[in-house]
Amino acid sequence: MLAMPIMMGMDIFMGTAEIRFIIKQLGGRNAPLLQVLLAVQDAAPQRYLSEEAVNEIARLLEISRCRVYSTASFYSEISLEPRGIHLIRVCTNAPCENAGKQEIQEAIERELGITVGQTTTDGLFTLESVNCLGACFMSPAIKVDDTLYGNLTTESVVSVLDSFRKEQCHGCK
């Protein structure tokens, strides 16, 4: 487990009212847990489930905290630690593996100075692996936030990262 950087200028607190609203939308006390977890994570500023969120979901769904945590910790889609602004997922399935996934991953790690499971100190990127992106036709592939990038080379993947850095910079100004 890594120590998480403090995200400058970000609201790390997600109100219980918002969680209550999400659960109400999904059917109240009987809302399906996995959907609730994903929805709360999507709405959370750092796209993760905080301990407060886990406790609140347990309370509202009337199940034990332990069970909520169990489900949350089972799925790689769900994070129990704060994530960066952009989420990079490297596909680890066989076609990508054969097409050079390892080199791509190492290029990202080199470029960002982090390994899978970590977040950059500036809070811009979190690097995760995923079992399949369903993009075998363009392997090796990665997904950054909601966008797929395929047929990557060790060079092109760096320019993908650069495009997000630039975008973030414009945002600053």
């Binding site: 332990c66 910790s73 089972f74």
Partner: protein, 576 residues
């Protein structure tokens, strides 16, 4: 259910339909190995050591989760099955600390027994050493995740039987762990210390906190007058630790065993159970006659008290202010008994033998020092006492039966049944009926409150006044009753709640192998103890009568309040 024919290792046998292959094999003399399977629990099928071959099915199937079908051809002894099971076991061993010699579970370990049976003499593959911290955060239970084989029995009992839900599996694949959320300690979550997890764990991953050293030290201290009390249910369970069948009544040998360990006096929690009935019975009458908070709920079970404090604090005013029999005994031992025997209370050391892990927590609570000293000094579970006896090389079966010492060893049949669900209720009814009506009960058995049904209720006629009573055992059932009271749905007057399924006979500190069948036998044994007693009503206990005459004056009197009752603070806040 009808019968069907299956072929088991080439032999055609007739078995009940719809039973599992595991059960069918067992009924035909073939014991397949199991780890995650527990007869009282739902099928989990995650350990895979019970796999067998079924003709026409490509993969091996888990026998615990596969029902027999007409004409099914099952092979349990093929080279493929043998090799697979051995590989699965080796994988489990590769991840398990090789500390069997120093493990508290040692020869009682189910994994070790399977290892011995399969004669595995080398472990293939790299040894994975885990180094998770051991949770010693509570005075009752120790949890060592390094020894966990992830069978899920503890999680099942915690979530399903008790509905407390502080243990569950987390993460996935090789990272899987069973623990409270975020790997927290039990003291940081809503654990009630019932110890049911320890009772169902097949290995040494969860066990009672061992307090045997404390007891050895006290026994060796010449300045200490060490007395012991035994809970009602221990007399019908301890023998199982020495290979006698469940339901064996071994009161005399239990007393003899304790005497041989060097306890100065062997007393009985049954004595203080009778005392509890006097206090609680009068408290009930007082509440009925003076418009007190009703229903009155029993307070004997510390797991239930912990649960109520954490999950239903609004019910605390309903719970009797009586201490549990264990604590009443401690208070009486260090006041009345100290005075009468001329021994200073600070020199008296009280040991309890309990079926319970939560009793260890109860004994060290700040309100349990009414004598000016900790009323009960050390609490041993049934399993710990058995370990001490084995350590001493005492052959339990050869002991000559002995009798409890007086006065704190004198008891009635009403006290004996405290150890089973429904027993406190029945004991209370016997006394309350006679006290209220002034009449002698013609029939002492209140069969309507007996049994193993999770929630039971009955209406009792107290000479014109109908009193509605209810009984719940196992916290999932206690929760049902608690919700009913909260919702104001039922007008019960008196409710008995026991934390563990079956009551104390199914306590978290009882001998391993407790199942519904075993509970039933222990329960029948306690009713046998009761019916064999010359006195069967608490208010007729001569030692209790004498105690009131010489010391307490009257039930619910000033001294009783000081020593036998506590204030049930409402400051406790629900954790969940």
């Amino acid at each position: 259910m009808g019968n069907i024919e299956i072929t088991l290792n080439g032999r055609t046998v007739s078995v009940l339909e719809n039973i599992s292959i595991l059960e069918a094999a067992k009924r035909n003399g073939i014991y397949l190995p199991t780890l995650c399977h527990h007869p009282d629990q739902r099928v989990k099928a995650n350990c895979r050591v019970c796999v067998v071959e079924v003709e026409g099915v490509r993969n091996l199937v888990a026998s615990c989760s596969t029902a027999v079908r007409e004409g099914m051809k099952i092979t349990t002894n093929s080279p493929r099955v043998r090799e697979t099971v051995r590989t699965i076991l080796e994988l489990i061993f590769a991840d398990h600390p090789q500390e069997c010699l120093t493990c508290i579970r040692n020869e009682k370990c189910e994994l070790r027994q399977i290892a011995s049976r399969f004669g595995i003499n080398s472990i293939q593959g790299a040894k994975t050493a885990n180094n998770y911290p051991v949770d010693t955060s509570t005075p009752s239970i120790v949890r060592n995740p390094n020894k966990c084989i992830k069978c899920g029995r503890c999680a099942e009992v915690c979530h399903h039987t008790q509905e407390v839900g502080v243990l569950y599996s987390h993460n996935r694949s090789t990272e899987i762990m069973i623990s409270p959320e975020y790997g927290k300690n039990l003291s940081e979550v809503g654990c009630v210390l019932c110890g049911q997890c320890a009772a169902v764990c097949p290995v040494g991953a969860i066990h009672e906190k061992d307090d045997t050293d404390q007891v050895w030290a006290a026994l060796a201290d010449p300045g200490k007058h060490v007395v012991v009390q035994t809970a009602p249910s221990v007399r019908v369970s301890i023998a199982e630790e020495f290979n006698m069948p469940p339901g064996s009544i071994q009161t005399g040998k239990l007393v003899a065993a304790l005497r041989s360990l060097g306890f100065e006096r062997v007393f009985d929690t049954d004595f203080s159970a009778d005392l509890t009935i006097m206090e609680e019975g009068h408290e009930l009458l007082h509440r009925i006659q003076n418009g007190g908070v009703l229903p009155l709920i029993t307070s004997c079970s510390p797991g239930w008290i912990n649960y109520a404090e954490k999950y239903y604090p609004e019910l605390l005013p309903n719970i009797s202010t009586c201490k549990s029999p264990q604590q009443m005994f401690g208070a009486v031992a260090k006041t009345f008994y100290a005075k009468r025997s001329g021994i200073a209370p600070e020199d008296i050391y009280v040991v309890s033998v309990m079926p319970c892990t939560a009793k260890k927590y109860e004994a060290i609570q700040p309100e349990m020092r009414s004598s000016g000293y900790q009323d009960v000094d050390a609490v041993l579970t049934t399993r710990e006492l058995a370990r001490i006896l084995r350590h001493e090389g005492i052959d339990f079966s050869m002991l000559e039966e002995s009798e409890y010492d007086s006065p704190l060893g004198t008891s009635t049949g009403a006290a004996a049944i405290f150890g089973t669900t429904g027993g406190v209720m029945e004991a209370a009814l016997r006394s309350v009926y006679e006290i209220v009506t002034g009449e002698t009960l013609s029939k002492l058995d209140f069969s309507e409150v007996r049994g193993l049904e999770g929630v039971r209720s009955a209406s009792v006629d107290l000479k014109g006044k109908e009193v509605k009573v209810a009984i719940a055992h196992g916290l999932a059932n206690a929760k049902k009753i608690a919700e009913k009271i909260k919702a104001g749905e039922e007008d019960y007057t008196f409710i008995e709640v026991m934390c563990c399924p079956g009551g104390c006979i199914g306590g978290g500190g009882q001998p391993y192998g407790t199942t519904q069948e075993v509970r039933k036998k222990r329960m029948e044994a306690l009713y046998q103890v009761d019916s064999d007693m010359p006195l069967r009503k608490s208010h007729e206990n001569p030692a209790v009568i004498e105690l009131y005459q010489e010391f307490f004056g009257e039930p619910m009197g000033e001294l009783s309040h000081r020593y036998l009752h506590i204030e049930r603070a409402e400051e406790a806040e629900a954790v969940i």
